[in-house]
Subunit: 295 residues, 2 copies
């Protein structure tokens, strides 16, 4: 696997750190591309890759291409734009890492097949340090034989790896996971904001929450940050709004009532509208503590 | 402590099992009382106590009285009704175990003082097996010296014991804890209901939720029950509606916006209105799975 030429498209904090991780582990990172050509040039120097001038050049220089873009429009552009990854793509494997709508993963999969290539969706439920250290949580959808053929690479990027079904299914699971996580986060913000208003000792309250049925993963990761207003971004409020929005559309299509997901989407959408979309998801506490964004 | 005569008022599944627990541990359970006199007579035989014909008799026969009633109206009745616990209550200690509004704990505390007695609120965040085994999670409010004087007894009833402040504060913390727990529960029901509708493997989905930011205590306690429709009651939907309702009133008084707590209260209130209030809180999944209560 380590003899394969790897390309990466989308060199934000996730993509850039995945490139560094693969390079550290001895992979041949051959080609990198980002809309921001300075970012691409700098990373290319760091991992000894070629900074490509266009997407077709990435495909030409790589056997496996990892794409890490932020939304459906960017995904549309790199696969269906004038300059795109599918030109000369025969025999290539695309591994698409991002939470997008299930629908676009299906379309990209079909177009890759038409071009003689293969593709997987590899949805990540992790953040920047995990990308850097090869400890991602990956949920993969697509053809199972393609999954098996790229498993050593996926294993090196991840600490947990789940094959969940055909293309589109991984984004469904990811949207669900983030929908539930976002609700739990917004719930915690309500509890702590109310506790503060009632004059409770928040350190004690955090401890009690952690010993009872109210315990949650986000209590561990976001509880103290909410109290301290430390909203350095690991997973942005804007991103939370996007993922909850994807889940809401799926729920609507299935006729499943999801009032809590809706209320959570509304909170994160409100944050974004207030210019707080770049804060970490813990920033939802800015809406529930007196004298913060509330006032 | 074990030489003190203990009385118990309210012999439901919690109160009855607390009496059994104390009796097993060698306490002198002297007097018991319940509106249902058959329940009281049967328990009295079991723990070798006197089944009292009225509340004043419990006070006469006890030094410490534990009350375990279900709501503010019942609490009002046992302390301020025609037959009540405060008659001849000088020197008695009342330990009031129930999630009531913070306000009534304050009123009972003041009335106990007027009667020459003392009182504590001891809110439980646990269920029936914990009551039986002396493994309650107890949050205590009231006078700290009264707390210290009854600590050996409270320790024998609990596995975690927190003194949280003056009378009323423990119910505030309890309402907050249950508010957050109920939201997390209703969130999980939305995620699993949507996952089922999407045709996902729910066993895999439960596993993935447990490995990601969506992990929660209620995932461990209620996840499989929601899938299996096993809603045997540990903490009823009606109770969930009550506790979320108390928290909502506190939030409203403080001017804290709590849209998720509201959406959760609405779900549990809806369940109760549909005649599903006796189900466990996990039964909220009946509202989010196709072909269940939804249909």
């Amino acid at each position: 696997m380590k003899d394969k030429k790897i390309g990466l498209v989308g060199l934000g904090r996730m993509g850039g750190n995945m490139a560094r991780c693969l390079s550290d582990k001895g992979y041949n990172v051959a080609a990198v591309y980002d809309l921001n050509s300075e970012v691409a040039a700098s990373l290319a120097t760091e991992v000894k890759a070629t900074a490509c001038a266009n997407l077709a050049a990435v495909t030409a220089a790589s056997e496996i291409v990892l794409t890490i873009v932020t939304n459906d429009a960017a995904m549309e552009s790199i696969f269906f734009g004038e300059d795109n990854l599918l030109k000369g793509a025969e025999g290539r494997v695309f591994i698409n890492c991002a939470t997008l709508t299930p629908a676009i993963h299906g379309r990209v999969g079909a177009a890759a097949t038409d071009a003689g290539a293969s593709s997987l969706e590899a949805c990540m439920a992790s953040s920047i340090p995990q990308a850097r250290n090869g400890e991602l949580f990956l949920m993969v959808g697509g053809d199972e034989t393609v999954f098996e053929s790229t498993k050593p690479l996926l294993d090196d990027l991840s600490e947990a790896l789940h094959f969940v079904g055909p293309a589109g299914k991984a984004s469904e699971v990811k949207a669900l996971v983030n929908m539930v996580m976002n609700i739990n986060t917004a719930a915690l913000a309500e509890g702590l904001g109310l506790g503060k208003a009632l004059g409770l000792d928040l350190e004690m309250l955090l401890k009690i929450l952690g010993q009872t049925g109210a315990r949650s993963r986000v209590l561990e990761t976001d509880g103290e940050d909410m109290v301290a207003r430390d909203h350095e971004c690991y997973f942005s409020a804007e991103h939370a709004a996007k993922d909850s929005g994807i889940a809401l559309k799926l729920a609507e299509a299935q006729g499943i009532p999801t009032p809590l997901a809706q209320a959570t989407f509304d909170q994160y959408t409100k944050m974004t509208a207030m210019g707080l979309g770049e804060l970490d998801k813990s920033g939802v506490a800015e809406l529930t503590f007196k004298g913060r964004a509330l006032s």
